[in-house]
């Protein structure tokens, strides 16, 4: 059974995405900021991470940088899920080797699940 870690301070997205994934028998874990995300990566060992950008304490870009600095960290595919549309943020994220960037408001829970499945199949 695959485990998805959702790092997002958006309470509604956390709750609905978790519910959807659990209905599809995925395991889930959650973190509300980058710092908590970093510790959950280690403790939860997820198969994929959904990562928000705009978060308190440590934002998504900071999380990615810290994660890449740590060479012992497991190589986990990351899908950025944000409501930002700033192009520099995207390119910065891509430069750090994320698997995709989706704007939450442009997707349904179903289409997000579809992209998660595509990444996990590879």
């Amino acid at each position: 059974m695959k485990k998805i870690l959702i790092i997002d301070d958006d309470q509604v997205f956390q709750k609905t995405m978790t519910a959807k994934l659990e209905l599809l028998t995925y395991e889930t874990a959650s973190a509300v900021d980058g710092e908590e995300g970093l510790s959950k990566v280690v403790s939860e060992r997820p198969d994929l991470i959904l990562l928000d950008i705009k978060m308190p304490k440590l934002d998504g870009i900071g999380f990615l940088k810290k994660l890449r600095e740590n060479t012992n960290a497991p190589k986990i595919p990351i899908l950025i899920t944000s409501n930002l549309s700033s192009i520099d943020r995207i390119s910065e994220g891509v430069a750090l080797g994320v698997r995709g960037y989706i704007i939450k408001s442009d997707e349904t829970l179903d289409t997000i699940v579809k992209q998660i499945e595509d990444i996990l199949k590879k």
């Binding site: 309470q11 609905t16 509300v32 409501n83 939450k104 349904t108 829970l109 179903d110």
Partner: protein, 584 residues
């Protein structure tokens, strides 16, 4: 010889004079007339020379060119074998001789030596023959014609009180030049030099004006000639390439310091070759953004019959850093608004997706949570939309303040009541104190003041840690009184004293302060707090986010009442937001 020339000139140019000459046959009268005509024709010649100077050289002040013009027409007036000039060039002495009639080489050498001698005497300087660049034009040198210089006179060329050379007229015939001829030539030269001197004065003044302008320009200005030698560079341009003190800046200093971000040489070449101006995109040079303009520089079209001639190019560096940062702030603001709108919308969207999918799969507790979340999301969207509308109204100057006499105490008590629950949830105290002298009714816009209070109290709650204190203070301010003294009459005090200078010239007013024991605000952030495009990067204790529009709106409302809003803060102690509403 001279008189024949004069008469021929006279005949040619002075039709009136000629007719008079034939009408009056009296010999004496004729002599007087000839004398007068000589004067007239000389004056005409002088004028013609000056006019030609003006027409042909315009503002070009090449002395050599001017002398050339004079000697080219001189033979109409004075008889000579050769006319020559010797000028101080930048490196060499220029010796130019125009031969009307063929002469022997010795004649040429003799003139040259005599001129060298008189120039040495005039300037009190030794000159060597090697320093002379010789140009001979006109008739050819013939060795058989061994005739020496028999008539000769020198006129110094003086421009702006400085000797720049000598002009010589010489002939192989004896006793040719008398005082009259010399006077004529001397006068012509004097007039020309006067004209050039005053022209030079005009040009110098203009140049000084242009220089002063270029020097003081905020934009970097560099002018080069066609070989990319730098002719003009202003302090701004030096600063851009980081060489404010270096002497003799070359194009290579630019090439090195522009770090390949702008091909200055290539652009100059292109611009000059195509005779077309060039404008760059934004270029980042040493932390600043510039738009760079390149213009070709041409000579005035009237100088050469062949049209304009390229003499170089000008490069202007226009600093757009400030404009760019405003643009960036605007972009950030838009991106923030988009993010804040998308988040609740997307939330509602996802919840409805789940609910539609199958209510039977959702537990009762989750279902209730979803309904609460939809409610919260739609509220936050509503709030944001209202904020945006308020900001738009403020921007358009359409924010209306409808003032009516209201009991301020009632309004504030109502707001305290409203926020009691959230203060309790955040484990904070929320209290209000009033001075006893408050007027019963104050002219205010009730909805507006409620909005200001909502904003200030909710911010105070958001940014204060548990067990902290939020206190609202309301007092009357009398004109000329010290505000902190007035506040001392209240049962509690604000956490930080109010700035007296803000109230020093204020008229009688009501002052409302919201004091909190939050973490305080950096001095550098304070001035941006009330600006609509700057959201403080400071996250609230509870992690609550906001658009940061509230304070900009509050400012608009308070100013709509003719009042002012402000803040005092101390890091680690707390902040006091205050506003005053003028009475009457």
């Amino acid at each position: 010889m001279l008189s024949i020339t004069i008469i021929s000139v006279l005949l040619a140019v002075g039709g009136i004079a000629a007719s008079i000459y034939f009408i009056i046959r009296d010999r004496q009268a004729k002599e007087i007339l000839i004398k007068r005509e000589q004067d007239v024709s000389r004056r005409m010649y002088e004028l013609a020379i000056l006019k030609e100077l003006g027409d042909r050289i315009g503002y070009s002040l090449d002395v050599q060119q001017i002398i050339d013009i004079i000697i080219n027409s001189l033979h109409q007036f004075i008889d000579y074998s050769a006319v020559s000039y010797m000028l101080l060039g930048p490196e060499k002495l220029i010796f130019k001789m125009h031969l009307e009639r063929s002469v022997h080489q010795r004649f040429v050498n003799d003139i040259r030596d005599r001129m060298l001698g008189s120039l040495s005497a005039l300037l009190d300087r030794e000159f060597n023959k090697k320093d002379v660049k010789e140009i001979i034009s006109g008739a050819i040198i013939i060795e058989e014609l061994d005739e020496p210089v028999r008539s000769f006179f020198n006129i110094p060329l003086v421009i702006d009180e400085k000797v720049v050379g000598v002009l010589t007229v010489a002939d192989t015939k004896v006793g040719l030049y008398k005082e009259e001829e010399m006077t004529i030539l001397y006068k012509i030269i004097q007039q020309a030099s006067k004209a050039v001197t005053s022209l030079q004065g005009v040009v110098k003044t203009e140049q000084a004006k242009v220089n002063a302008m270029v020097e003081s320009m905020a934009d970097g200005v560099v002018m080069t000639d066609i070989d990319y030698r730098i002719m003009v560079i202003n302090p701004s341009a030096r600063a851009i390439i980081g060489l404010p003190k270096k002497e003799d800046i070359t194009i290579f200093d630019f090439i090195d310091n522009l770090e390949g971000k702008f091909d200055i040489r290539g652009r100059l070449e292109e611009s000059v070759k195509l005779n077309k101006p060039f404008k760059s995109e934004e270029v980042l040079i040493k932390d600043k953004f510039y738009k760079i303009f390149v213009f070709p520089v041409n000579t005035n079209a009237t100088v050469e019959i062949g049209g304009q001639e390229a003499v170089g190019g000008v490069v202007i560096f226009h600093d757009v850093t400030a404009e760019r940062s405003i643009e960036q702030i605007r972009e950030q603001f838009m991106s923030m608004i988009v993010h804040e709108l998308r988040t609740p919308l997307s939330g509602i969207n996802k919840i409805s997706e789940l609910l539609r999918e199958g209510q039977e799969k959702i537990e009762k507790k989750d279902f209730d949570d979803y309904i609460k979340l939809i409610n919260a999301d739609s509220n936050s969207m509503l709030e944001l939309v209202n904020d945006i509308l308020d900001i738009a109204k403020l921007e358009a100057g359409k924010f209306e303040v409808k003032k009516e006499p209201k009991d301020l105490r009632n309004i504030i008590d109502n707001r305290i009541e409203f926020f009691k629950t959230s203060a309790l949830d955040a484990k904070l105290s929320l209290d209000v104190v009033y001075s006893t002298t408050l007027p019963k009714a104050v002219l205010i816009d009730e909805a507006g003041i409620k909005q200001v209070m909502n904003n200030l109290i909710s911010n105070a709650i958001k940014f204060t840690k548990r067990d902290g204190k939020v206190l609202v203070l309301v007092s009357e301010h009398k004109k000329g009184a010290k505000i902190n003294e007035e506040f001392k009459g209240l049962p509690s005090q604000p956490i930080v004293s109010l700035p007296e200078e803000t109230f020093a010239n204020a008229q009688g007013s009501i002052v409302i302060a919201v004091s909190d024991t939050g973490s305080g605000i950096n001095q550098s952030d304070i001035k941006e707090l009330f600006s609509k495009f700057k959201q403080l990067n400071n996250k609230s204790e509870t992690g609550i986010k906001g658009t940061g529009l509230g304070l900009a709106i509050a400012k608009g409302i308070v100013e709509g009442h003719g009042g002012t809003i402000g803040v005092v803060s101390e890091i680690g102690v707390g902040s006091v937001f205050f506003f005053m509403l003028p009475l009457g």
